[in-house]
């Protein structure tokens, strides 16, 4: 019972962090900073939020390593996809 109460407390904490990060994301777009800086900040915040959801709501933090390996593969392949398409984006 005590552990359940604790984990629920933890879920609410993650919810508050996610909400605050969303507000920061929206706030960042109004700051009028250089485009590259805004893009970097937004992508960092988005990946951070996605990781919070995966780690805490999807319990990846508590699972065996198998599931983390399964979860990380699509992201590796996406990076690979971008790298493979770079010659098309910047043709010489």
């Amino acid at each position: 019972m005590a552990t359940t109460a604790h984990s629920q407390h933890n879920y609410i904490k993650i919810f508050i962090i996610l909400s605050v990060l969303t507000v920061i994301e929206i706030g960042v777009t109004f700051l009028g900073l250089p485009k590259m800086l805004i893009a970097t900040m937004l992508i960092t915040l988005a990946v951070w939020k996605a990781a919070l959801v995966a780690m805490h709501f999807m319990h990846l933090k508590l699972e065996k390593k198998t599931l983390s390996i399964v979860a990380i593969i699509p992201f590796i392949l996406c990076v690979f996809l971008i790298l493979m398409l770079l010659p098309d984006i910047y043709p010489r």
Partner: protein
């Protein structure tokens, strides 16, 4: 006999560190990995088309972010309700489970309602005003493909969660089934976090 049980109790000699505790859970994760690659392909394609286009409208000015920020909030809250529903059924608290899974489904349905309103507004007024037509303009096309693909996932999730709610109340599903449904629902939330950033904010 009882001594032997005491000695070996809790030890599973055949288990390797990589064996998942539930095959259903592993199955859902494998499906989600494949689904993530679909979304990944679409998002990367979107990024490359946008990068290669000479002109691209500022998304926030065309789409507006007030409603979408609310939709993001809805999905995050809905995700929290899902974990609370799982915690409730793990404790065996059926009433609390019904309440929270019901709220989860309601959150998803409200998200879909907002998206229907948004699409209606964009297709009927906003995009024609700006001469950004679906199927001729890349901005409009990629927008509808990405949010549409995600919207279909939310629709599927609302149906899936409703089936889980019914099956638990008939006594056919237990906590482990709810956990697997939760994985899908949180994934939909996770993808929306990325789409909200890439399509609306960037």
């Amino acid at each position: 006999m009882s001594e032997a049980v005491a000695v070996h109790g809790g030890v599973e000699p055949a288990e390797t560190p990589l064996t998942p505790e539930s095959w259903g859970k592993l199955g859902m994760w494998l499906f989600l990995a494949g689904d993530a690659m679909s979304f990944g392909g679409l998002i990367v394609g979107y990024g490359i088309l946008r990068h290669a286009s000479k002109t691209w409208p500022v998304p926030a000015q065309v789409l507006g972010i007030n409603l979408t920020a609310f939709m993001t909030f809805l999905l995050i809250v809905s995700s929290v309700w899902m974990v609370l529903a799982l915690a409730a059924i793990q404790e065996g608290n059926k009433a609390r489970f019904n309440k929270f899974l019901g709220l989860t489904i309601l959150g998803g349905a409200m998200f879909l309602g907002c998206q229907a309103y948004e699409w209606n507004h964009l297709l009927g007024h906003r995009l024609p005003e700006l001469k950004l037509f679906f199927s001729t303009d890349l901005f409009a096309t990629t927008f509808f493909v990405l949010t549409g693909f995600h919207g279909m996932h939310v629709t599927g999730g609302v149906i899936y969660n409703s089936c889980v709610l019914a099956a638990v109340n008939r006594g056919r599903y237990q906590a482990k089934h709810v956990e697997i449904a939760g994985l899908y629902w949180h994934f939909v939330d996770l993808v929306w976090i990325l789409i909200f950033t890439f399509v609306y904010l960037l």
